[in-house]
Subunit: 556 residues, 2 copies
């Protein structure tokens, strides 16, 4: 028998104890640190080359800690490897510009998409990969475990129990991965109280707590003003409802962010009702509490909604609708991005969302050569879940229609998730939505990526909706036919103009392409008058005054 | 604007309050109930047609509560819909036999596989679906949310905080889904203490706590005695190591349960060392703490292991190896099946495990006509994760070798997960491991299932290892070639005998089939002498006495 080696098996634990000891002089009551000592705390507990996670959710930003990390001395703290789901604040890119961090693994960048692209192209950031959220959480438990997590809560009690509030989001996943691999967990909270309304993170999972000088930053990312929905979006929404929702009777689903899906939500109580679909579609959602879903909820369409995070202004409404949302005994929402993404992957029949570009093969991406925006949850929900083993009518119908099954699995039965992209043939500044080649291809070359950053691959995509029609891609017998279907609904883009009218006609006969006329939708009805709410004020009325839009949306 | 309906939006909350009130007379200190009142408690908080989850993990059974549920009056509690990951105890099927429960959605059944099949065939159980674990958790947040959860912990403190112990497993997922949709959470615990070593579930997520008359049942499910590993398993393990692990340099992976993967684990410090693979493969695992992995850990092969659950006897060893495992500040393992399955799906490059049957197309299943055993986590880990967006050398190499990419996604790059099945051409009682048609097909007909219960589909499977050789299925250009590859390694089964020797030769030339000779493995070395530990006692020695096997394994 070979001799076992006699190494020290508790290096992480000892290293952790050293870090805590180095910071001990900054604490009172064991774990509370003054915000004026926050930068020094980070210099005590973070070491060069550490993997560090700054919580940067869509709805809840550990912004004070991000700012503090930007202010550490790069001679003391440097070469950090940032592993975080969202790059949303200037400080998130600032740590790279200042030489504090070096490597980045992330999922989504909003307003920082341009800055990230610049930093990568200039060599200031070494990019690991752009992940889908759930994938990044998974890696936190395998090869990207954070050494230090900088996270945010609403309140802490005197023992250190944390109430994350309405937007729990990523916090449980990050904290669990960090704390249990002997890492260090630092919370910023808005206030310290005697008793938290609910314990979201137990005190013994928390090392340091700082009462932030200001509440954490929060963005109403999922709020869409109905007044800005266009007639074209209404038309596409009606086509999607009749040609996809009604066709497959989709009950469990996710709606991506955007005006297209907001239009669909506002069409449920009107056009959806007219089509007799109430109770037959859209009963179970996985999504943030979209204000534009209020009319459908109030009209009794929706039975259950599990949320990734919260949405500013929706707090009171969600509390008052505990039959629909997942609320705690304290009355407030318990969101959880990890579980919601699990549900979005495995327990929904459809993902529908928008994109910037679709290529000739049907692959789509939101990355361009100057903006690396990441994909958040889209690849996870917008892919066929090969591990799924339960059946539903929608999933089975889509699977039955899908070609190529015999070559894949022989004579057995299998369903397929509906993955739908709503696209405009032309976006703002006349940029075409359909292109020969994705910008992602050039971006990958420039940045030396081993994969083109593709949001949804063509073989996962089942439907594209444009103002020209719906393409049912999964029904195509091969790539040639799929390419013809993409061209056939690409309108006046260069790609669309290359379509062969005879081929497009043939695809319409095969029900692979269906135009507005094929679907029997009258253009005279397809306008804003169909929306159940025309503006923010209507949404507030629908909510019985329970929805409180942020000031910037209060135009009345 | 349409009028919103004026319904009651808090029916679940009120119903929950009623149930708690009905049980109030049984409680002391708010939530503690005597075990002699447990049956009455269940009759107060469970109503007919409820969705009920009994925690039945691999390692931790809410067995006392299961027994109590079996003893409720079917006139009071009936038509329950059981949604639970594991059917492992006679009581889990007993509730159906007694008319207390009616419908079942589950993931895995061990010893109850035969009983489940009988109940379904006799019409006593209406089967929803057989899920992969993560899928079932997902549905708990969408359309299968439990109304009542019956779960197990090691300790509760006087406030009701729960310490789940070494085997946290499903508890957080079940409790979160139930509690936040206004459901009722009932814990059985082994003891009530003043202070728990760690809070795994906060007190305000818990409604009732019962000190069980005996500790919960726990099964050493992942323990394999090295003395029972056969020479044939050593040979297959060596072939897998040389033909797959070394070929793709797989670093992050899951090993299924079984003697085949136990053999591989015990070959790492010997044959793996000989091949110069230390540090190059098997550095990051997602699996339960397999005792057979001790020699590889002690020899410095492994950097990180995240666990679904614990394993009896491994407690002290895991505590002493905090650099490798995810342990709490209290020193004990924090396992978590939901996060481990997320990691297994998205953050590992390979799944390798065993099966009972593989059909001519390469589909595999462990279901037979008389046993519905379910698949646990296998479909989730043993499928290509289409949402994955990060790259690794192993994943990219497998993707590059995979045929059919152009027809799927055009000119873009994509990797593929290695999904490996180790099979015996003949199992016990000479049952063939390769068959024309899976028993699952007949089972689906008999039980009226809309899908055949398939564990791993042929198009997800990349490699099959038998004593005859390795088939690299993903390299096959079409179904014809894949079927020939399956036949080519199916030995003396009827399917194997139908192989055309010329075709098999051609596949060997293409490196689609590689035999032991092709791999250059000498039969003289391929025997038990290669194992780093030959028996349980060797494992204990390797562990420096930190591993304490259950009595039944202590044969020395």
């Amino acid at each position: 028998m070979q001799e076992p080696c006699n190494r020290d098996w508790e290096t992480l634990k000892k290293d952790r104890a050293e870090r805590l000891k180095a910071a001990a002089h900054l604490t009172s009551n064991g774990k509370f640190v003054k915000y004026s000592d926050a930068v020094e705390l980070l210099q005590c507990v973070i070491k060069p080359y550490d993997i560090v996670n700054i919580e940067g959710d869509n709805q809840k930003q550990a912004d004070f800690l991000a700012e503090c990390l930007c202010r550490v001395d790069p001679k003391v703290v440097n070469n950090l490897h940032m592993v975080q789901s969202v790059i949303a604040l200037p400080e998130h890119t600032g740590v790279f510009a200042k030489g504090i961090a070096r490597k980045l693994d992330f999922s989504f960048s909003g307003t920082q998409a341009g800055a990230i692209a610049e930093l990568i192209n200039s060599g200031s950031v070494e990019l690991g990969a752009i992940h889908t959220y759930l994938e990044l959480y998974g890696r936190c438990f395998v090869d990207l475990t954070p050494r230090v997590a900088l996270v945010a809560g609403v309140q802490a009690d005197r023992l250190g129990n944390i109430y994350t509030g309405f937007s729990t989001e990523d916090t449980p996943a990050i904290v669990e991965a960090t704390k249990f691999k002997q890492g260090v967990v630092v919370f910023q909270v808005n206030e310290i109280v005697d008793k938290v309304p609910r314990v979201d993170i137990p005190a013994d999972w928390v090392d340091f707590i700082i009462k932030s000088p200001r509440p954490f930053y929060i963005e109403p990312l999922f709020t869409r003003d109905p007044a800005l929905i266009t007639d074209a979006q209404v038309l596409k929404g009606m086509m999607a409802l009749k040609g996809i929702y009604a066709e497959y009777l989709v009950q469990s689903l996710n709606h991506g962010i955007g005006f297209d899906t907001a239009a669909i939500e506002l069409l449920l109580p009107t056009y959806g009702e007219e089509l007799g679909l109430k109770g037959k579609i859209c009963t179970h959602f996985v999504l943030n509490p979209h204000p534009t879903l209020i009319p459908a909820i109030e009209s009794g369409w929706v039975r259950s909604i599990h949320c990734f995070g919260g949405e500013l202004g929706m707090e009171e409404y969600v509390t008052a609708r505990s039959d629909i949302f997942f609320n705690g005994p304290d009355g407030t929402l318990r969101s959880n991005r990890a579980f919601s993404q699990v549900a979005g992957h495995y327990a929904t029949d459809m993902f529908i969302g928008g994109t910037l570009q679709i290529d000739r093969w049907g692959n789509s991406s939101t990355a361009t050569t100057t903006r690396i925006s990441g994909f958040g949850g889209a690849p996870n929900m917008g892919c066929n879940a090969n591990g799924r083993r339960h059946s539903s009518a929608a999933w089975l119908k889509c699977g039955t229609e899908t070609t190529g099954k015999d070559n894949a699995i022989g004579g057995l039965t299998r369903g397929k998730k509906l993955v739908v992209q709503i696209a405009e043939t032309f976006r703002e500044k006349l940029a075409p939505g359909f292109v020969e080649e994705l910008d992602a291809v050039q971006l990958a070359k420039n940045a030396g990526l081993s994969l083109e950053p593709v949001m949804i691959y063509g073989d996962d995509l089942t439907h594209i909706v444009t103002e020209e029609g719906i393409a049912y891609l999964h029904k195509c017998c091969d790539m040639e036919e799929r390419m013809a279907a993409v061209r056939g609904i690409a309108g006046y883009t260069e790609l669309g103009l290359s379509a062969d009218p005879a081929e497009t006609r043939r695809l319409r006969e095969l029900d692979i392409i269906r135009t507005r006329e094929d679907l029997g939708i009258s253009i005279t009805n397809a306008n804003r008058s169909m929306l159940a709410a025309k503006n923010m004020r209507d949404l507030v009325k629908w909510s019985h005054g329970l929805y409180h839009p942020p000031m910037r949306y209060r135009t009345w």
